[in-house]
């Protein structure tokens, strides 16, 4: 129990006729980075809102930092140790960045004498130190998102929930966020990350859950999810009959044109594939074992689902 930050059992949410989330069951270990992936409208933000008590589940249960979401008081206490960056990150425009953070220090019940230190630290982490005294209404979208990240990092929370944390950031900003997230894990903080930017997730997450239309369609470590037993081939001269013949031998090729993928082929079967290809009239230019990207796996999963 102590080493699980989030656990959900059949967590579901229905808005009228729409099943926003259907029976989500997952565990997020403490100190890990968990990625929640899915297309827009898949239920990712709904799940986050349920976990943070912003909405009530239609069914199921969830426990966040040891507090069940059904126990309002305990869950409220637990939220003192949670940092949250919403997908819709807006802060009162008439306040300065420092004032926004001070307000959140008060809300997070940080001791008054620690405020200055905390504010300075998070502003430095997100790269907004020079804009601390400026009003939020003058901030670009990217800066507002950085401020939102600073708000989420205040007072060293045990769990940080980031909903599309890089949506408004340029590549440099995205790299910064990745480094911040890795640094959090190094400190033992748990990170729950919602994203549809798969390349981002691929680079930082330990485990991921892929969600579509409210249901989890795959869950596991990246190593478990991504098929490594594939081979990429560049070959010409393969007619439809040739490919059918290869398929009958157990080498079903995917793709069109020159660049093809042979799933399920690895190790000792690679020379067999090459030999079979040449035999049916193909001219091989390149063979390389490949790990499919998360994007490829994601799209394949969505198609199957």
């Amino acid at each position: 129990m102590a080493d699980v930050a989030i656990e959900t059992v059949d967590l579901a949410k229905r808005y009228g006729r729409i099943q926003a989330l259907a029976g989500l069951s997952m565990r997020v270990e403490r100190g890990s980075i968990f990625g929640f992936l899915g297309p827009n409208g898949a239920g990712k933000t709904t799940a986050v809102k349920l976990l943070l008590g912003l909405a009530r589940p239609s069914a199921g249960e969830a426990v966040v930092l040891g507090a069940p979401i059904s126990d309002e008081r305990a869950h409220r206490e637990a939220r003192a140790r949670v940092g949250y960056l919403p997908e819709l990150f807006r802060y009162p425009g008439w306040l300065t960045a420092r004032e926004v953070l001070a307000a959140h220090c008060a809300l997070a019940r940080v001791e008054r004498d620690r405020w200055d230190g905390e504010i300075r630290e998070v502003l430095t982490t997100v790269g907004l130190s020079e804009r601390a005294g400026d009003r939020v209404q003058g901030f670009s979208k990217g800066m507002q998102q950085r401020l939102g990240l600073a708000v989420a990092l205040l007072a060293a929370p045990e769990l940080v929930v980031l909903d599309e944390p890089t949506s408004a950031l340029d590549p440099v900003g995205r790299r910064d966020v990745r480094e911040i997230v890795r640094a959090l894990r190094a400190r033992g903080t748990t990170v729950f990350l919602n994203s549809h930017l798969l390349s981002e997730v691929e680079q930082v997450c330990d485990r991921v859950a892929v969600v579509d239309q409210g249901a989890v369609i795959a869950m596991g470590t990246l190593a478990e999810l991504l098929r490594t037993d594939s081979v990429r081939v560049r070959a010409t001269g393969l007619t439809a009959e040739a490919r059918a013949s290869l398929a009958r031998e157990g080498f079903a090729l995917e793709g069109d044109g020159e660049r093809l993928v042979a799933p399920g082929v690895s190790g000792d079967r690679i020379p067999l594939l090459v030999e079979a290809l040449v035999r049916v009239g193909g001219r091989m230019y390149a063979v390389e074992p490949v790990q499919e990207t998360l994007e490829q796996r994601f799209l394949a999963l969505l198609k199957e689902h």
Partner: protein, 275 residues
Amino acid sequence: MLREAVRRRLVLAIAVLTLAAVALTGWGFARIPELGGREPLPAQQVTLIASQLTILVAFMFSFVLALSAVFVASPAVSGETESGIALAVLARPISRTEYVLGKWIGLSALLFVYAAGAIALELVVIRLAVGYTPPAPLVALGFLYGETLVLLTLGLLLSTRVSGMVGGVVGLVLFGLAWMGGIVGGIGAAFDNATITHVGTATKLLVPTDGLWRGAVYALEPAAVLAGASGLPAGAAANPFFAPAPPPWTFMAWAAAWIVLVLAAAVWSFRSREI
């Protein structure tokens, strides 16, 4: 709340407008003795006219305070939930109850500062202009502030469910209806028509602003005017700028209970709201 009002230039706008209104009314009051033509009016007449004008000015303030209360309260919650500002706040260990009550306390303090300041300034200017002070200005302020609280609380309740624009319009219309209801009730009482009187009473209880306004009027009526009231025709009670008697304490208790109930409703409404 004050910081927001200052930074959003609300304070500046309101201060300028209030000062202009006070200056204008002060100038008007100073002209009263001249109404007699070549000879200045006798003091008693000046007092009478000044007292009635004071009531009209108080009505203007009650209208301003009512509108202010509705327009600051209506977007108080809905603005933050619609823009997303509320998301990060409500994910903290703050209860929905604390969130709503905090807004109410902040807004009522802001409106009190304005009400007390503006009305005090107006009374000082009237005294300087024409030497008149109404009988019970603090009581009047209390009633006017009570009206403000009623509309603030109503606006906040609406804000937990509908957008600022809708809440503002609904609050304003209800204020107008309550005012009309007070007049209607007065007519019904004057002509001994039970049905019409009941309609008036019902509106008075549903939205207590007009009853509280009558309390303010009574507090501003000099004794001489009240003494002469028994000689007035039956329809006088329908006059929204005259009150022959203070509101009964039962009504005032109801107004206080109304505020508490509606505030509780606002809290309950927001607790069950999904963000």
